[in-house]
């Protein structure tokens, strides 16, 4: 099903691979497509980021140039947004991991003997994918609005200050990011844990490890590929997201993330160089993180 | 679609100077081989010896680096797999999981637009006694049944040559023995040429008229099973096909009919007619069941070799026979199989014994005696790597 994309990360193939012109035929259309509509746009973005405003031009008119100052300008202007983006994304990723691990363990290990139940739980995990991303975020906005049942009862119980808000705060944005990307975390974790051979755990207990040590020394290392895939699949979209942080959704003007300023600069202000420079910065930081992460923890072959 | 004529009986298979090199290693080296029409021919060897590669070359699933493949005198080296009058029973059976048993069997017939495929497929299933399971999916059959379907799927096409790649490897011992006999009788029935690849020496000997023993990409020896067994030509064959006691030493005297070696001070005589080399340092051997045990020094005359005294270090009773491991100082351990004609072992661990055999039972081997050659089992990392590549 849909989650196969995440659950199929590392099947080992032992096929004797052949050299043949057929390979080229099979690869060419798709590779060409990606070069044209993925790689070329990145290059275009790179050059857009260096453009200079057209003399006496209207808004949105730029000439090619090598205006590296665009980068320092956007960093000076949007440093808080950049830092906020990565801060929010990291916290949301950690929350999603803590939320998902026990859930994935329940589905992948505890429910192994009951395939029907296991299948049903997997469907429930991906169920949020089937309802519009924007609508489920708006649903939270209304469920957690100031006048909502949950918030008013928390206030009545004095668990929340009477004048406190939830929506529009950083906490709400992080909450939204974590919620929306939880399936991206749970599914790779599930795949790793599903494959976990329980005899290793038994061997661990046999060799005098208590349950906590077994978990720390055996379960966690063996599910590391899932942890890596899950954290990346959660962190990347979270860092670039601008829906949750938007003021019409869970955010407020002071929770704007880098995605919001890219959107505003590109689509509203038509300041394409600034949007492009911010995009390149976001992309570069993510690539560095992915690179370091993958190198540190192995799992070279992510695809 | 194809107008190619398919033989009613089998056709000769001829390999001429076939070599196959993969990245970094040679699987087959200058192989010449003739498999006569109608024969049941076995290629026997350890994994990694090149036997499966040979089979795949004949099937057209692999192209030779050099050399030619001929079937019925026609050169098919550059013919595609699907155009060759050859069918294969794969080791994993390779039954199509999305088709019924019947659809599997019909597959080849339909590709060639053979008239009346349904009746022919049912007939083939009848031959392997599975007509009642025609509508099942392969996954619903037992291993033995799947094996039969694979066989039916191949022979229904009446190929000039049927290739069997370890066809019984996945079955348990009892079923394997039964299928060996069945396969042989089916071969006699249909009169096709069978080329059978196996690493099971007993299977090869039970089924085949001719066995070729392969090692490291070459054929070491070829012949009828009993010839190979009684008169192995190399250390490898002596050890791969059954077990052997081997001795190495210089020839110290010879007559018109026999050679005598000095092996660590013991004299061992072999008939000249049964030796591959007559001078210098040579290796001779004798099968364990040809040895007799004596509890006191025997006096047997010149037509027997006697070694002793030694000490029994291990006795294992296996019902039909008893295996003794006898340690003779300076010679090492000898293996002796004795039939259980009486009750129980004739001597226990620690007993002092002598070992003898008739001179006529010994054989002299062609190998250059070197310490490595004495241990024929090739378990070097390279060999294992090749074996894995071959199996994959």
């Amino acid at each position: 099903m849909a989650f196969a994309a995440f659950t199929a990360a590392d099947v080992v193939v032992r096929t004797p691979r052949k050299k043949s012109p057929v390979a080229l035929l099979l690869l060419l259309p798709g590779v060409l497509y990606l070069v044209l509509f993925f790689l070329a746009p990145l290059v275009s973005l790179f050059f857009t980021a260096l453009q200079v405003p057209h003399l006496d031009g209207d808004i949105g008119q730029y000439d090619y140039g090598f205006n590296w100052a665009n980068y320092t300008d956007v960093i000076r202007m949007y440093l808080p947004h950049i830092l906020r983006s990565f801060g929010y994304a990291i916290i949301a990723t950690v929350i999603a991991l803590l939320f998902s691990y026990p859930l994935a363990y329940l589905i992948g290990v505890k429910a192994r003997s009951r395939p029907m139940l296991q299948g049903l739980m997997l469907v429930l995990v991906i169920a949020p994918f089937f309802i519009s991303f924007l609508l489920r975020t708006l649903a939270w906005k209304q469920i957690l609005a100031d006048e909502s049942l949950i918030i008013t009862s928390l206030k009545a119980l004095s668990l929340l200050a009477p004048d406190a808000h939830f929506t529009g705060t950083p906490a709400a944005v992080i909450f939204g990011l974590a919620y929306n990307f939880i399936p991206f975390m749970t599914l790779p974790l599930y795949t790793s844990l599903e494959r976990l051979d329980l005899r290793y755990l038994e061997a661990g207990s046999d060799l005098y490890a208590n349950p906590f040590t077994v978990f720390r020394k055996i379960t966690v290392p063996l599910s590391m590929p899932g942890i890596i895939a899950g954290t990346l699949l959660t962190f990347i979209p979270a860092a670039g997201d601008y829906v949750n942080a938007s003021k019409d959704f869970l955010g407020a003007p002071d929770t704007q993330m880098i995605g919001n300023v890219i959107e505003t600069n590109f689509l509203v202000l038509q300041n394409y160089p600034a949007a492009a420079a911010l995009s390149i910065i976001l992309m570069a930081v993510i690539l560095i993180i992915v690179g370091v992460y993958v190198k540190r923890l192995g799992t070279e072959d992510l695809l | 679609m194809f107008t190619r004529q398919f033989a009613d009986g089998g056709a000769d298979l001829e390999l001429q100077g076939i070599s196959k090199r993969f990245l970094g290693f040679t699987a087959i080296e200058e192989l010449d081989l003739v498999v006569p029409a109608g024969s049941f021919f076995a290629l026997l060897g350890p994994s990694g010896c090149g036997k499966t590669t040979t089979l795949r070359l004949v099937a057209g699933l692999e192209e030779p680096t050099s050399g030619r493949v001929l079937i019925g005198g026609k050169d098919i080296t550059s013919t595609k797999a699907y155009q060759r009058p050859v069918n294969t029973v794969f080791q994993s059976y390779a039954l199509f999981p999305h088709m019924s048993v019947l659809q599997n069997v019909e597959f080849g017939l339909r590709r060639r637009s053979v008239p009346d495929p349904l009746a022919k497929a049912r007939e083939a299933l009848r031959l392997v006694e599975l007509e009642q399971l025609a509508e099942r999916k392969p996954q619903q059959l037992s291993g033995g049944q799947q094996q039969r379907v694979a066989l039916a799927r191949a022979i229904v096409n009446r190929p000039a040559l049927l290739l069997l790649d370890e066809p019984l490897g996945a079955l348990d011992l009892k079923l394997r023995r039964q299928m060996q006999l069945e396969l042989k009788s089916i071969q006699l029935d249909v009169g096709l040429t069978f080329l059978h690849v196996t690493h099971d020496q007993e299977e090869a000997m039970v089924m085949a008229d001719t066995v070729a023993v392969m090692n490291k990409g070459r054929i070491e020896q070829m012949g009828a099973p009993n010839e190979l067994y009684e008169l192995p030509r190399t250390v490898f064959v002596a050890n791969f096909l059954g077990q052997s006691n081997l001795f190495t030493g210089p020839v110290v005297s010879s007559t018109d009919t026999a050679l005598t070696l000095d092996v660590q001070g013991f004299r061992i005589t072999v008939p000249i007619s049964r030796t591959q080399r007559q001078r210098g340092e040579i290796t001779v051997g004798v099968r364990p069941e040809k040895l007799s045990l004596h509890t006191e020094a025997p006096d047997l005359g010149s037509d027997s070799n006697t070694l002793g005294e030694g000490r029994i270090v291990d006795v294992s009773f296996s019902g039909v026979s008893t295996q003794y491991l006898v340690n003779i100082p300076a010679l090492g351990n000898l293996l002796v199989f004795a039939q259980n004609l009486g009750f129980g072992p004739v001597a226990g661990v620690g007993a002092e014994v002598w070992v003898s055999w008739q001179v006529g039972h010994g054989f002299g081997l062609a190998d250059d005696p070197s310490p490595a050659a004495r241990f024929a089992a090739d378990d070097s990392t390279a060999a294992i790597a090749i074996a894995e590549l071959e199996e994959s």
């Binding site: 099903m1 798709g30 993925f38 049903l120 519009s132 924007l134 919620y179 990346l232 829906v243 | 794969f90």
Partner: protein
């Protein structure tokens, strides 16, 4: 852990709470598709079926139009991405070629690139090339980000097919094309179907990339985003709920028919 009495129950109880949490906004969205709202659909005003029956009459049918666009875009992008991705997946598993590393990287990068960068990049390229934004540019964008997901999904399936099945096909007189259509494709089909469903889901629900490359074309997510500021009509909830119910029923049927088939196979 099992020494403690509650250890056994801890995980299942957690599971129930976690699933409830995951499903809350879904339930909310569905419930509010039955809300007898006037303009914005924020507070509960009573139950009605009206919104389901009049879904295409709201705002001159703009919700339905946006939905229709999303479906068309989703179908075309799915067909394109699934075809291109499947071809690449087969090449990756079955063939040896130079630049394998480069190809893998090219496939991995789109998944590691935030959507906002993909969207802005493509938009700046269209801008530079003077291409007007319409349905075509949305389809181009969606196909692009779906390809990698298709490759990952189908690749696993290709790898699970025993290559000797294809060899057996060739051995049994099947030409390369016959072997592909009669053996490889049927065996690959579940993977291809999964990839297609995933592509459609990704395309249908995409907002960020679409927002950069759609010009004046409305898609369903775009419609929701734009109306979020002024209040979303219940018609949007109706559409989302209908899609959700359709998808969930489809998935459950596939899931359970597969389980039933496995059971039937095991019975013999």
């Amino acid at each position: 852990m099992s020494r403690f009495g509650f250890g056994k129950w801890l995980l299942p109880v957690y599971g129930i709470i976690a699933f409830t949490f995951l499903l809350i906004p879904i339930a909310y969205t569905i419930v509010f598709s039955f809300n007898d709202s006037v303009k914005s659909n924020i507070s509960w005003r009573g139950f009605t079926f009206d919104k389901w029956l009049t879904v295409c009459q709201v705002e001159n049918g703009s919700v339905c139009e946006a939905f229709g666009n999303s479906v068309i875009i989703g179908i075309i992008a799915t067909v394109l991405a699934t075809t291109l991705g499947t071809m690449i997946a087969i090449a990756l598993v079955r063939y040896r070629f130079g630049a394998r590393g480069a190809v893998s990287l090219l496939l991995f990068l789109p998944m590691a690139t935030p959507e906002v960068v993909l969207g802005a990049g493509l938009a700046s390229q269209f801008l530079a090339a003077g291409v007007p934004k319409d349905m075509t540019t949305i389809i181009i964008a969606h196909t692009m980000f779906c390809i990698s997901f298709v490759v990952v999904t189908v690749k696993a399936r290709v790898a699970s097919i025993d290559p000797t099945l294809e060899e057996a096909g060739r051995d049994l007189y099947g030409s390369p094309l016959q072997v592909f259509w009669r053996i490889t494709f049927p065996l690959l089909f579940p993977g291809i179907l999964a990839a297609a469903l995933l592509s459609f889901a990704l395309s249908f629900d995409d907002f960020i990339i679409t927002n950069f490359n759609s010009g004046s074309v409305q898609t369903f997510p775009k419609y929701v985003y734009i109306s979020a500021a002024r209040g979303i009509p219940a018609a949007a909830n109706v559409i989302a709920s209908a899609v959700f119910l359709f998808a969930i029923i489809f998935v459950l049927v596939v899931q359970f028919s597969r389980a039933a088939r496995a059971k039937a196979l095991a019975k013999h």
